[in-house]
């Protein structure tokens, strides 16, 4: 397949998990990929090596999307490496579930700075770098904005904000030929959800019991959707929020 031949994509938070799989998937379709990471250099380098070994093009670019100066640098390094931009995947995100009694200002700012401010900063810079042909922005939201799990008030609030950002920017940027859509995954088995204790927990069992397709997700379930949203196959879609959760809503 070569649905993204000649395209350049930035995937934030692509050193592991969903971001890494999307980076590999976009590269497989012919895109040159910037594998952004905040601190997991080893993971990012591994993704780049895998892409190159499979015959694709990629570079790792460090930068914390919550920091404006880093975001400026991510996109200037993208321009240096590949000369242009066509696709931005706002995947970098953090999650921490906290009962309302225990929330803190620090916890709030931490999650909102990465999940919301970071996505907005990256989007602002991507729009500058998209050419006259426009581009495709793919926000990685979350099915929590359908499911509203207890103890997720801050996390789900960030993803609710992201849903609104998708809808607003789709209207705002349509005339510039820039499409903005999101994928909202349910529970996906990644290093992150293992570390957070979701995998193998009662939470997982409950989720699976309520999921029409009877299991939790894998990164490979998400990637073909990202390829679809990045390519011209989805050219008539903008402002769409695709809930990718095996039917759980």
């Amino acid at each position: 397949m070569s649905k993204l031949a000649g395209k350049v994509a930035v995937v934030t938070g692509a050193s592991k998990g969903i971001g890494a799989d999307i980076a590999r998937g976009l590269a497989k379709e012919g895109a040159s990929v910037v594998v952004n990471y905040a601190s997991s250099k080893e993971g990012a380098d591994k993704v780049v090596a895998e892409i190159i070994k499979a015959g694709g093009k990629a570079v790792a670019v460090q930068g914390d999307v919550a920091k404006e100066a880093d975001v400026l640098r991510i996109f200037s390094e993208t321009k240096n490496a590949f000369g242009k931009l066509d696709v931005l995947v706002n995947n970098a995100g953090v999650y921490k579930f906290t009962p309302i009694e225990e929330i803190t200002e620090e916890g709030f700012h931490n999650i909102f700075n990465t999940n919301v401010l970071g996505a907005l900063l990256a989007t602002r810079e991507a729009v500058k770098l998209f050419g006259d042909n426009g581009g495709s922005i793919i926000n990685i939201g979350s099915a929590v904005t359908e499911i509203h799990p207890p103890t997720s008030s801050i996390y789900t609030a960030t993803k609710g904000a992201l849903d609104s950002i998708t809808a607003v920017l789709a209207k705002e940027l349509g005339p510039k030929k820039i499409r903005v859509n999101s994928i909202n995954p349910g529970m996906v088995e990644t290093e992150g959800t293992h570390t957070a204790g979701f995998i193998g927990s009662d939470f997982q069992t409950t989720f699976e019991g309520q999921t029409p397709l009877g299991r939790i997700g894998q990164p490979g379930d998400i990637t073909p959707i990202a390829v679809f949203l990045a390519s011209t196959d989805s050219g008539w879609l903008t402002g769409e929020t695709v809930v990718a959760s095996g039917g759980l809503r």
Partner: protein
């Protein structure tokens, strides 16, 4: 290419417009197609000839989906012709716009019998005929369930029913490996929308001005979305409603 190789698809109302486009697009991806029509035999035969002329497989099967006996016959003729069944596109639909002052029982029954009853009858038969690998049901809804156009109460109500059916059946059939999703198109340029006056006048210009991607849709904008929902690329999606309207919501 060949994302639907070896699959058999029924597209209802495929003699023209969006249905014809989907039938042709599926055939190009390797599916064998049943081109269902209610009365436009000439159009259906043309679609079949177009497909077979390009080396694909298709037959035309007459049947009014609002009629249970016809629906059963469509499916039995499909099994006779192709021996298996994998994908149903519930595309057959009618629209008739009138202010509430002019609402009649006849308006109601006509639109609900085709758009809702017919969709349910076809879905029931589909579930009986899917094999062990399950299948994919793609309902063609409409963006009217986002935009709520004046004078569209009966049509919009019928399409809201379709949205609900998509979600309920996705939960009900997930454990049988049957995915149910919908595409909700906005204004699309077809023989039908031309005849009714939506295309080719001031109303079209007004809509285009409100549409982020700045134009009316074409059947070719809808087809790749249908291919996505029919193929394994969307394997983790069920119960999803994709608004395909160039961003107008």
């Amino acid at each position: 290419m060949g994302k639907l190789s070896g699959k058999v698809a029924i597209v209802t109302g495929a003699s023209k417009g969006i249905g014809a486009g989907i039938a042709i697009g599926f055939a190009q991806e390797g599916a064998s197609i049943v081109v269902n029509y209610a009365s436009s035999k000439e159009g259906a035969d043309r679609v079949v000839a177009g497909i077979t002329g390009q080396g694909g497989k298709a037959i035309a099967i007459q049947g009014d989906i609002a009629n249970a006996a016809d629906v059963q016959r469509i499916f039995s003729e499909t099994m006779s012709a192709f021996g298996r069944f994998d994908i149903l596109v519930n595309n057959a639909g009618i629209y008739q716009f009138a202010p509430i002052d002019d609402f009649t029982e006849e308006h109601f029954h006509r639109q609900f019998n085709t758009n809702v009853l017919g969709l349910l009858l076809a879905s029931r038969e589909a579930v009986k005929h899917f094999g062990e690998d399950g299948g994919s049901i793609i309902n063609i809804g409409s963006s009217v369930t986002s935009t709520y156009p004046p004078s569209g109460v009966t049509y919009t109500a019928s399409k809201s029913a379709v949205d609900a059916i998509t979600k309920v059946l996705s939960k009900e059939l997930g454990s049988r490996k049957i995915r149910v999703n919908s595409i909700n198109p906005g204004l699309v340029e077809t023989e039908g929308t031309r005849t009714i006056g939506f295309i080719g006048g001031d109303w079209q210009k007004k809509r285009e001005a409100q549409t982020p991607l700045g134009r009316a849709g074409q059947p070719g904008d809808i087809t790749p979305v249908a291919v996505f929902l029919a193929s394994a690329d969307s394997g983790w999606l069920t119960g999803e409603t994709l608004l395909a309207s160039g961003g107008l919501r």
